[in-house]
Amino acid sequence: MNRRQVLRGAALAGAGAIGGAGRAWAEDSLWGSGSGQTWSNARILTGLMPGDWPVELAGGIHVQDGTIVAIGPEVTGGIDLGGATIWPGMWETGTSMGIAEIDLEPATRDDVESGDPLEPQVRVVDAFNPQSALQPVLRARGVMGALVMPGGGVVSGQAAWMRTSGNTVSEATVLAPAGLVINLGKAGVSAGGATSRMGVAARLRDVLEANPPPQDPPKPSMWKRAPPPATPPKPPTRAEAVWHDLLSWRLKAIFVADRASDIELALGLASDYGLDAVIVGAAEGWMLADELSDAGVPVVLGPVTAQPDSFDHLRARYDNAALLHAAGVRLAIRIGDPHRTFDLSTEAGIAVAWGLPYSVAVAAITGNSPDFFGLTQGRLVTGREATFVISDGDPLEPRTSVKHVVVNGVEMPLVNHQTELYDRFRVLK
């Protein structure tokens, strides 16, 4: 029995019954394993930011009913991990995972609704495929979930935080809608829509100013009689309701922007219209580090390895993350390549090589981005969901392997399209 079979055997033993092959798991539900389980003798990376809580612990983790009930040196017994690393696994930001499977096959593509440059009512969850072959591959390599974003046009639609686990859309959903995707720079330019950056900005201003959220009715006054009842307001259309939510902080504004001037435009729009903004991309973010820090707008930077290969980011550089962090910007890291989402760990490692503190880099690919959206995923803390990954070394090193994946207390199978091919062709017949 080779190393791989041992690994898979262990995974299968923990996963319970598995029916069918490849794409679908036949478990009744992922959620809430009954009895408690303990993993110990590990290095634990909590995914927290320095200063919040310990970023690193030695010891173990005890799980009950899908929740972490104890973590740290006091936890012993159970499965001895022999010094392996427990960490929260990766949470990607801005991917087409689940809404696009094979780039060049239109039959598998649901990530771009190109009917109109403004598509506020378009929702990722309406297209998300929890049975896509992508998710089991990513999960086996330590990706736990992602902010899935539609693309195309100026406003692409409503993003959603989705898991790499779950048999149904609702099981896979963490948060939907999570925000509205707004593309600045050349990403927002499309045939039949805005054809220039100024057109992108003008479209946004037009639609935001045409859809102010309804005002609360005036409060009754001691001195004045209540005004006569106006004609009852017409209920907003779906699109209007989205603009209202955006303008009243019920929906995040997810600005996709790389060029420094586009980031500056995002900060300006956020300020002018009072938007709850997050910047995704930010290849030239370091040029506006102080402005981003002052505005308190979080940045999901990535990839770290962005190159000066486009007019949209001629000033991309490897130490972008380190410079933003040093300026006090709230920072997460993304990769933005669905099939290679697992390389998020390598991207974080490269950011460390170029000056980002290690624990910040770990937090930047685990809990930080979910935290920007008010979520608790991606951090290992008592009382939170027991979703984590066990690796045989430093998770940021390319040589390190994922050994076990636990989602809400249930050990997941690592079987996927690729492991099935490996098993079939490992020995040539």
């Binding site: 000066p308 290969d309 001629l314 390598t346 460390v352 090589a353 090193e397 390319p398 040589r399």
Partner: protein
């Protein structure tokens, strides 16, 4: 800087105390590497008097990285219409074109690749065409002339492509194919190849006649392929494409030097090994098109275990800067550190026919070297210096900011 203080005629360099990863044997701790006039004099031995001494304590010295699949210069950065020069997609057969003619010497990707320890690349034409043209093997010297970059010892190579790309470009049913309705299917691709190779043989016979047809630059190159005067580098993914190309190669009697990408090589690795073909591939890229759907991260490891020489390639001006990390990933699936090292140095050098000159740290070879501040297969390692022919082409201490 020590370098700047030396007299201009001093050509001896001694790099001391580094861990030397030679790619030709086990690592040497606390090594001595002596360079004279751009050539490695030896590993170990005495330091010549007057040599420039570099104390590389705690660092790792390895051969400069060789990337067998690049389009740098042909798609010069930033991505633009004006510098889109990688595919001569006017017809499916353009063996007469040469990738060197498209190279923009000012491509900023060259500089960044030097910062990644890369010293030799093969610039290939794109994969739109069944026969895309001749490759250009370059040393990544900074040069105002192409002549200053050409690796003159490299034998000629040619790019061929089979599978989805040619039929996508030349299948008239696809909206993005102004080239018309020339090839629709894989069987159409193979038929076109057979016809083209047969045309070359007929042309050779006709040229012997008293009234020979005029020179045909395309067919002249194809005859060089048939005569094995060209290293054939074949862009392919699926097993049916690999096996089909061996039928063509066997029929017309030429050797396929390398599969480029070859993401399904693992399924027919015995056939590839039997043909003596090498493999240049991605680490774990997959899923971007149907013919990449069955890619598995064990492809390189399974293929090398079957006797195929496997190199990591970048096919990217970005990944070329981090080929050491692509190789490091393969250690997860079973490669030793030495196998990982060879996959980005000596093996691609063999693929390009320049293994007598580069790819390892051995006496008599070109002093193409990369110095890292840590184990090069760690994500935290960074290149400190890169040399080509003994010339310092990157020095991190001299870089303030990009």
């Amino acid at each position: 800087m020590l370098l700047l203080c030396l007299p201009a005629l001093a050509h001896d360099l001694a790099i001391l105390h580094a861990t030397v990863l030679t790619a030709a044997g086990p690592p040497i701790t606390d090594g001595v590497v002596v360079v004279h006039d751009g050539v490695i004099q030896g590993v170990g031995g005495a330091v010549p008097t007057g040599a420039e001494i570099l104390d590389a304590t705690g660092m790792y010295l390895m051969p400069g990285i060789v990337d067998p699949h690049s389009h740098m210069g042909d798609y010069s950065w930033p991505d633009s219409v004006g510098h889109n020069d990688g595919n001569e997609a006017s017809e499916p057969f353009t063996p007469r074109v040469w990738a060197g003619d498209s190279v923009d010497l000012e491509d900023p990707a060259f500089e960044l690749a030097r910062e990644g320890g890369v010293t030799t690349i093969q610039v290939l034409p794109g994969s739109a065409n069944l026969i895309g043209g001749r490759s250009a093997v370059l040393k990544l010297r900074s040069s105002r002339t192409l002549d200053g970059m050409i690796f003159k010892a490299a034998p000629p190579g040619i790019k061929m492509a089979i599978g989805e790309n040619p039929k996508r470009v030349y299948g008239g049913s696809v909206a993005l194919a102004p080239q018309g309705d020339q090839i629709q299917t894989r069987m159409g691709e193979f038929a076109a190849l057979r016809r083209e190779f047969q045309s070359a043989l007929d042309y050779r016979e006709a040229r012997k006649r008293p009234d020979p047809p005029p020179r045909d630059l395309d067919l002249d190159v194809i005859l060089d392929v048939i005569d094995d005067k060209m290293l054939v580098h074949l862009h392919c993914y699926e097993t049916n494409d690999i096996l089909g190309m061996y039928r063509i190669a066997d029929q017309f009697g030429f050797h396929i030097q390398s599969l480029q990408h070859g993401l399904e090589a693992y399924k027919v690795r015995d056939v590839i090994a039997a043909h003596g073909t090498m493999l240049a591939t991605f680490s774990d890229w997959w899923g971007f098109k149907m013919e990449a759907w069955d890619a598995i991260p064990e492809n390189a490891v399974l293929s090398s275990a079957a006797g195929v020489g496997v190199a990591m390639h970048s096919d990217s001006g970005s990944f070329v800067q981090r080929l050491n990390l692509e190789a490091a990933k393969m250690m997860r699936y079973g490669w030793t550190a030495d196998q990982a090292l060879q996959s980005i140095t000596l093996t691609p050098a063999k693929m390009l026919g320049v293994q007598d000159r580069v790819g390892s740290i051995e006496a008599g070879k070109d002093a193409d070297l990369a110095l890292y501040d840590a184990d090069p297969f760690s994500v935290y390692a960074r290149v400190q210096r890169t040399w080509i022919d003994g010339q310092l082409v990157y020095d991190r201490s001299q870089v303030v900011a990009r």
